[in-house]
């Protein structure tokens, strides 16, 4: 054979004289850097909040907590928060479970479309639901005042609960859809073949096998609702919950100590719910990994009709919310003058287009930086596993438990001081968003890294590639799909978030989602609707653009 050894002679096959970057020289500084960032931007600020809540003129005191619980109006916020969150959780998870069941276990037509429509609320800020409810059922509501002539007061806890159900529905649906599509339907068939009725099978087999998914979804929704600010602010009226009370104390009364106290009280159920959600989601994924989806038998006609009617009703309500917002943005004055107009898009009450531009900047930077950072953390934690990786992982995941309001307040304490150059710029908003949503990015990154077999990296280095070439040519291309979806996730959350940035914006760094809140507060409902419409349009446009640009390559990667 012509493959003479050592030919061509001048090639340095052995790479004996090449200088390689020692992996440790990259890994340890990178890890130290990540650690430092997480300490500076998570640990330090949160400790500041706790410290402020117990600081008194003579050292540590619990006086603030005593004042909280003895002041009847403020003390009630904790119970109100628990009531609203508990009720919203039960309603959302029940509705989402039936919806997910219909999508995964029945053969009703149009399941793909239903699924897409049901996920729509993800692309809107958390106050759009409340805004739409007011348009429909408020004092000048289309349905209540105009059609029924009734005098219904939507403001209060029931308004909050309805808005939160709309807001949280897709989050619950994602978890339950994954759970129910993975749980083995052969168990159901086995139960039925043993003579159990459909109803009995549902309660004795289907529901128990999805229990971790249901628990996981429940605690996620509880955490989402109790930490939400947008909906209760808009539709709560004088029904104050913990998140809005923090805002009242900090922005309204400049009482930072009481703001910190309420923050700590809010953190307790929020962190607890997060830990439980995390625990159950791990058990859930341990249960559902890698099972085949067998063939579905056609659903009986009566059941199909009932499920179909339910699903289309839910989607119709979701569409109604969006249609209301969009319509309201194009008419003169909701409730009084329904003449079409583009007036609201001139944003006379606010510098709307500038605000949108700021939001876009923050979200694009946040998307890219967030995706890079979470990929880096996932790479270190999952692939390199240096000593301390576990701690790094915890640091990266914990902020998901911290309510956005608390994070924002913490950043005031930590960074509103001379010398902190990024305070008051868009960078503080970018950082707050990335930190707030880091956990999901990191978890998705780790899931991706787990799929890349260790031998690929070893093959690369044994062929003579250095750390950088291995990352650039092998690991990154194999992470591209995960990277893009992670970037889109950070982009989307940065576009719609309110709670994490409400304390941090400066006049020239106001974001679009914040602007919706402020416009609504100022009574400019039309412009608020116009801005909401723009946010939704921008997110959908970016999704479409990414799909067009990367879609084909992304799919090739998955297939190949």
């Amino acid at each position: 054979m012509a493959l003479a050894r050592g030919r061509p002679a001048e090639i340095d096959w052995s790479l004996a004289h090449r200088r390689f970057v020692d992996e440790r020289y990259l890994l340890y500084p990178a890890m130290a850097g990540v650690f430092l960032l997480l300490v500076v931007f998570i640990l330090f600020p949160i400790l500041q909040v706790i410290q402020r809540s117990v600081a008194g003129p003579e050292g540590v005191t619990l006086a603030n907590y005593a004042r909280y619980f003895t002041h009847p109006r403020i003390a009630s916020t904790a119970w109100r928060s628990l009531w609203v969150s508990g009720l919203s959780t039960v309603l959302t998870v029940s509705l989402a479970f039936v919806f997910a069941y219909a999508l995964t276990r029945t053969t009703i037509p149009g399941r793909g479309l239903l699924h897409t429509l049901a996920l729509l609320p993800l692309v809107a800020p958390s106050l759009v639901q409340a805004l739409a409810l007011i348009f429909l059922f408020g004092r000048n509501g289309l349905i209540t005042a105009r059609l029924l002539g009734a005098d219904v007061n939507i403001y209060g806890w029931h308004g909050i609960v309805i808005s939160e159900v709309f807001y949280c529905f897709p989050h619950a649906l994602i978890i339950l859809y994954t759970t129910l599509s993975a749980v083995d339907t052969r168990l159901d068939e086995a139960a039925e073949s043993l003579g159990a009725s459909g109803w009995r099978t549902f309660w004795t087999v289907t529901v128990p096998s999805a229990k971790y998914g249901v628990m996981s979804a429940s605690f996620l929704i509880f955490n989402l609702v109790i930490t939400d600010f947008g909906n209760p602010k808009v539709i709560g009226g004088d029904y104050n919950v913990l998140a809005t009370e923090i805002y009242n104390q900090v922005s309204g009364q400049q009482n930072l100590a009481m703001g910190s106290t309420v923050s700590v009280i809010l953190m307790i159920p929020a962190v607890l719910a997060f830990i439980l959600q995390y625990y159950f989601s791990r058990r859930n994924y341990a249960l559902i990994s890698g099972q085949a989806r067998p063939f579905l038998r056609p659903t009986r006609r009566g059941a199909a009709r009932a499920f179909g009617a339910f699903c289309w009703l839910v989607c119709a309500m979701i569409l109604l919310v969006y249609a209301t917002i969009i319509t309201a943005s194009f008419i003169k004055l909701w409730g009084y003058d329904f003449t079409p107009t583009l007036r609201h898009y001139r944003f006379e009450a606010s510098d709307g287009w500038q605000v949108l531009w700021v939001s876009l900047k923050i979200s694009v930077i946040g998307g890219i930086v967030g995706a890079i950072f979470s990929l880096l953390v996932a790479y270190i934690v999952e692939k390199k596993q240096p000593p301390g990786a576990r701690l790094l992982y915890l640091r990266a995941v914990i902020p998901a438990a911290i309510p956005g309001m608390v994070l924002g307040l913490a950043y005031i304490f930590a960074f509103n001081r001379p010398g902190v150059v990024f305070y008051g710029t868009i960078w503080i908003l970018v950082i707050a968003n990335i930190v707030h949503y880091l956990a999901l990015g990191v978890l998705a990154g780790i899931a991706n890294m787990k799929q890349i077999d260790r031998s690929l990296e070893e093959a690369s280095v044994s062929l003579g590639a250095g750390v950088l070439m291995t990352f650039r040519r092998v690991l990154f291309p194999l992470s591209r799909v995960a990277f893009v979806s992670s970037a889109l996730y950070f982009f989307m959350t940065s576009m719609v978030t309110i709670s994490a940035v409400i304390f941090l914006y400066a006049p020239d760094t106001k974001t679009a989602a914040l602007s919706v809140l402020l416009l609504d507060d100022a009574g400019e409902a039309g412009e608020a609707a116009a801005m909401s419409t723009l946010i939704i349009a921008v997110i959908l446009a970016v999704f479409l653009l990414v799909r067009l640009l990367l879609g084909r390559q992304g799919f090739k990667l998955i297939r190949g």
């Binding site: 054979m1 012509a2 493959l3 050894r5 050592g6 030919r7 061509p8 090639i11 340095d12 096959w13 052995s14 790479l15 004996a16 090449r18 390689f20 020692d22 077999d453 031998s455 690929l456 070893e458 093959a459 690369s460 280095v461 044994s462 062929l463 003579g464 590639a465 250095g466 070439m469 040519r473 092998v474 291309p477 194999l478 990667l557 297939r559 190949g560």
Partner: protein, 361 residues
């Protein structure tokens, strides 16, 4: 200076677990060595230390006269072939094979001819533009071989390369690997748990158990003279008889009878373990048909099962409470057929025994 690879009392522990314990070995340039052993015996860990994926906890690894314990894998230029193929799924076959060449910053014009040369070598040039997922497992492993050989490695390390493949392709690729090794004269270290693979491929086999080398030698040596009962059991098939030492020279007690053994017994210990290969056991026409054989070594039993193993017929014969395996060639079997339930007489030649101290395991 020849480019021998020397392992000098190499050990590796993970926490308190000793995966590899003081392994010493010299691999000569151009030699084909197999590490053979059950899973968890440390053979893969040893190979990964040679590749540079793991660092030895103690001992030295030398190549070309230099200690390479801490040399990064990139600078060793040892090819590595994985059980999982480990082809880069995001690259075409061409780009996979060219990967090592690009890492060496070889001029673009010289890459294509070299890649084609390697693809010809494994007979898959027409797959240049395909992606790994479009190939079968056997084809993927051939591409992985081409990729590992492209950078002209001085040693090729293979970690159970055929374990994930179907039996037929396994045998075919085995001969391909042997052909490549002969043609290129490259040193190969091949890890496997499949004794048939090791026996048919290797110049030298290193049998490992629980992190230690049990025996080293050619296939014939390992098979004919296993140095321990573990090797006798793991490589090939053996019948074991637990015996006691007898006062008389050259005799051991098996149950209530005495057997003659040609080999010298171990120096001490009351218990003696005899092993005999199934093909060394003879099937007699009648117990009286001795013809100069040692009368003590005839055992009677009842045929339990008859299994056709291709060229060989294997009988399982119940002798007392022990099941003895007897391999006959087709011709022998035709001459003296046996059916389950038949009473038969077995002859265990004194020189057919392998002798080990103590009871087994």
């Amino acid at each position: 200076m020849s480019k021998d690879l020397i392992l000098d009392r190499v050990s590796k522990h993970f926490g308190s677990l000793w995966a590899v314990h003081e392994v010493s070995l010299e691999v000569r340039e151009g030699e084909f060595v197999c590490f053979l052993g059950p899973s968890g015996c440390g053979k893969t860990t040893l190979l990964r230390m040679v590749a540079g994926f793991e660092t030895p906890s103690a001992g030295r690894i030398l190549h070309d006269g230099r200690v390479i314990n801490d040399l990064i894998p990139q600078k060793r230029n040892f090819g590595f072939v994985f059980q999982s193929y480990a082809l880069f799924p995001n690259m075409t076959v061409f780009d996979n094979v060219a990967f090592g060449l690009r890492a060496r910053r070889i001029a673009r014009a010289r890459i294509a001819p070299r890649v084609d040369e390697l693809l010809d070598l494994v007979g898959l040039r027409h797959y240049r533009e395909r992606y790994p997922a479009q190939l079968s497992g056997g084809e993927q492993q051939r591409i992985a071989l081409a990729r590992a050989l492209a950078t002209n490695p001085s040693v090729l390390l293979l970690d159970e390369p055929l374990s994930a493949l179907d039996a037929k392709i396994r045998v075919y690729l085995r001969s391909e690997i042997k052909r490549l090794q002969r043609e290129l004269g490259i040193t190969m270290i091949y890890v496997t748990h499949d004794q048939e693979e090791a026996l048919s491929l290797a110049d030298r086999i290193v049998v490992m158990e629980r992190g230690r080398v049990q025996q080293m030698g050619s296939a014939a040596e390992i098979y004919r003279r296993p140095r321990s009962s573990f090797v006798a059991d793991f490589v090939g098939t053996s019948n074991f008889l637990d015996c006691r030492r007898d006062r008389a020279e050259g005799l051991v007690a098996f149950g209530d009878r005495l057997l003659r053994v040609a080999q010298p017994l171990p120096a001490d210990g009351e218990q003696v373990s005899l092993a005999i290969r199934p093909e060394a056991v003879e099937l007699l026409e009648t117990p009286s048909e001795l013809g100069g054989r040692e009368p003590r070594n005839v055992l009677e039993g009842e045929v339990e099962t008859v299994t056709l193993l291709g060229a060989v017929v294997r009988l399982a014969v119940l002798v007392g409470r022990e099941l003895m395996l007897v391999d006959l060639t087709q011709r022998e079997f035709d001459r003296r057929p046996a059916r389950p339930g038949d009473r038969v007489a077995l002859y265990l030649p004194p020189e057919g025994f392998m002798v080990y101290p103590g009871g087994r395991g």
